[in-house]
């Protein structure tokens, strides 16, 4: 059960990170707090939008789904079931794959690091690891 709590906390942090980047992208934030400007270079690149939607918004949706699934999994009727863990592992796997692709773009194509994006990649990887632990514990 502990792994679902860990995932809920991490997903909430990830949700705020992606929410911040998305709100900045649509012009609702001030200057992007990033330090050396790598975030802007990444966020204003052509790869920051997929199918007309800012990449950060996919993060918002993904982390919200993870948060929702983990909270559902903590409810008494779902606590002993394996389904929430499977859903969390599936969602996290998609997130890790997408994050890996975005990180590769930063390294190999854009040649800039976005600290918030790296933070999000670390968070989703930690979520994936927690889900894997949960999967191996059966519940």
């Amino acid at each position: 059960m502990r792994h679902r709590q860990v995932i809920a906390v991490l997903a909430l942090v990830g949700l705020f990170v992606s929410l911040y980047l998305w709100l900045w992208k649509i012009g609702l934030m001030g200057a992007l707090q990033c330090g050396a400007g790598g975030c802007e270079r990444v966020q204003t690149s052509e790869w920051a939008v997929v199918f007309g939607v800012p990449v950060a918004f996919y993060g918002v949706v993904g982390y919200a789904a993870l948060l929702g699934a983990s909270l559902v999994g903590l409810q008494p009727r779902w606590r002993e079931r394996r389904t929430p863990t499977l859903v969390l592992f599936g969602l996290a796997s998609v997130g890790v794959a997408f994050s890996a692709y975005l990180t590769w773009l930063e390294v190999a194509v854009i040649h800039a690091w976005c600290r918030w994006c790296v933070g999000s990649a670390v968070i989703i990887t930690a979520i994936w690891a927690a889900a894997l632990v949960g999967l191996r514990r059966r519940a």
Partner: protein, 216 residues
């Protein structure tokens, strides 16, 4: 379990507060926000440098507040001018694509147009990108822009009057809409003879492509 939910709620409240404070870190509306967009075009299709008979035209969609654009303008553009524009191979067309996350992008674009009205667009373009610290601070850059305009050789009174009039807001918005229609989503984005350029935006890469196109 109760403790867990308390932690979660505290985290949510803290995150919400941080986002709220960050969203309040917006520029003061009015003078520093820049011209209000007007969806209209006067038929203007961008400032150009280079020969009208150049075999290659590069259209650049750029945002004056974008650091990547500044890097391109300061590190690559001098070589592009020397190797391709001054030699008559390339004509370069500059189009504005102010991004929504950049509060002063339209202001800077308008400043360049006001300088352009006095025949100093490229001087102002270079000045705005060369001293790009204004884009990092989030503070009202009006005074810095006045100084840049003076250094660019414009008549300051006429420049200020132009800035107050917002008369080029329509051009800038039309340019942005044109970029939208062409699928521009980030800056800088380039089109070489009408074809989107997906390569690394370096002077060497542009030279290789322009030379190959010019030979056809």
């Amino acid at each position: 379990m109760k403790r867990f939910y308390m932690i979660l709620v505290a985290l949510a409240a803290a995150g919400g507060a941080v986002l709220f404070l960050a969203s309040r870190d917006q520029p003061v509306p009015g003078a520093i926000e820049g011209p209000t967009p007007v969806v209209a075009s006067d038929g203007f299709i961008g400032y150009t440098i280079g020969s009208d008979s150049a075999p290659v035209e590069v259209v650049e969609y750029s945002d004056f507040e974008c650091p990547y654009c500044a890097r391109f303008a300061t590190l690559q553009m001098p070589a592009v001018r020397r190797q391709l524009i001054e030699t008559g191979v390339v004509r370069w067309r500059f189009r504005e694509f102010p991004l929504p996350g950049h509060p002063y992008a339209r202001y800077a674009a308008h400043a360049a147009h006001c300088a352009g009205e006095q025949g100093r667009f490229w001087e102002m373009h270079d000045a705005v990108f060369a001293d790009h610290s204004w884009a990092q601070t989030g503070k009202n850059p009006a005074r810095l822009f006045n100084a840049m305009a003076e250094r660019s050789g414009v008549d300051l009174a006429a420049y200020k009057s132009c800035m107050e009039s917002n008369r080029f807001a329509g051009r800038i918005e039309a340019s942005r809409q044109e970029g939208d229609a062409r699928g521009v989503s980030g800056t800088p984005t380039f089109f070489v003879n009408g074809v989107p350029y997906r390569g690394n935006p370096t002077s060497d890469a542009f030279k290789a492509l322009a030379d190959s196109l010019a030979r056809r």
